[in-house]
């Protein structure tokens, strides 16, 4: 399985993602944002970080960079595109995913482990995953998912809410929602579920020596589903 991680100026989770993808057997390539073409891939990843210094709005400048045209073509033809954290913000700015990530409700940069519940398994990302609740890491200042009432209804009706913040038992409540995100949303799909944007970083928790190794479930499962 081949993957491509796009690097923007200010990306800082690109190499973590490279390590994670390779650990689970992906042949990964790093692609610079100024390139025009992406080599043949089964998965494109937009990594976390602060692309273009978060100027204007998080992800807005990256969303207009040269490489994005190829990402749009790949995504619109059904290719798998995964956006983590800043990558999720870029996906909303390009219009591939609905809504927007606002500044965290309590004005703090949040860096900690959280639990998320998998809400939909009818997709390549979570089909057959062996855990219902994952402990993943978040590190963001703008992770407060927001969209219009109509968009939220549409997300619910089409089972596009991929993961939601919860406690270790999968219980959702305001106190388990770190950033004020609408309906505890931590990640969403597009309608066809080939595009996934999520605030938590599975690539940061892939080894027991780290604070969690639940990211293993995510990547192990993803490559199995792509075979």
């Amino acid at each position: 399985m081949r993957s491509a991680v796009i690097i923007f100026p200010g990306s800082n989770c690109d190499r973590d993602m490279d390590v994670a993808l390779k650990k689970f057997g992906f042949k990964n390539q790093m692609i610079w944002h100024n390139d025009m073409e992406i080599p043949k891939s089964d998965l494109i990843v937009l990594p976390g970080g602060f692309s273009y210094g978060d100027y204007l709005r998080c992800g807005s400048i990256a969303g207009k960079s040269k490489i994005i045209k190829s990402v749009l073509e790949f995504a619109n033809s059904g290719g798998l595109v995964l956006g983590i954290c800043n990558g999720f913000q870029i996906l909303t700015e390009t219009g591939l995913l609905p809504g927007v990530l606002l500044q965290n409700k309590y004005q703090k940069f949040i860096c900690k482990n959280v639990h998320v519940k998998i809400n939909d398994k009818e997709n390549k990302y979570f089909k057959n995953i062996k855990k219902e609740v994952l402990e993943l890491h978040i590190a963001h200042n703008e992770g407060n998912y927001f969209c219009s009432d109509d968009e939220l209804k549409s997300l619910i009706n089409n089972n596009q809410i991929a993961i939601t913040y919860c406690n270790e038992n999968g219980k959702e409540a305001d106190r388990y929602n770190p950033n004020g995100a609408l309906s505890n949303i931590a990640g969403i799909f597009n309608k066809n579920k080939n595009i996934l944007g999520m605030m938590p970083h599975p690539e940061r928790v892939i080894d027991k020596s780290l604070s969690s190794d639940d990211g293993n479930f995510f990547f192990e499962n993803l490559i199995e589903n792509l075979k």
Binding site: L56, E93, P98, V100, L102, K105, Y106, F146, C147, G180
Partner: protein, 77 residues
């Protein structure tokens, strides 16, 4: 010519920075401050001399980049 643009958050969209500014002003004994909404201001120099034509172009820029219409409104001054 120069075109000025103001981008503001739509009503109902949470503005934690505006809230913090309001609370600070209240704490500085400006007790009359009820709400603060923070926005962005752009000064755009364009190589178009016709005002109407320049504003049409800037309007396109606002829609495509300067404002995110999910959460923001813009005004060309």
């Amino acid at each position: 010519m120069k075109v000025k643009v103001i981008v503001t958050l739509k009503d109902g969209v949470l503005d934690p920075q505006g809230k913090a500014i309001q609370q600070t002003l209240n704490g500085m004994s400006f007790s009359e401050v009820k709400e603060v909404r923070q926005g962005k201001y752009f000064d755009i120099e364009v190589s178009i001399n016709d005002e109407e034509k320049a504003k049409v172009k800037v309007d396109e820029m606002c829609k495509k980049l300067l404002a995110n219409l999910v959460i923001e409104d813009y005004k060309i001054l």
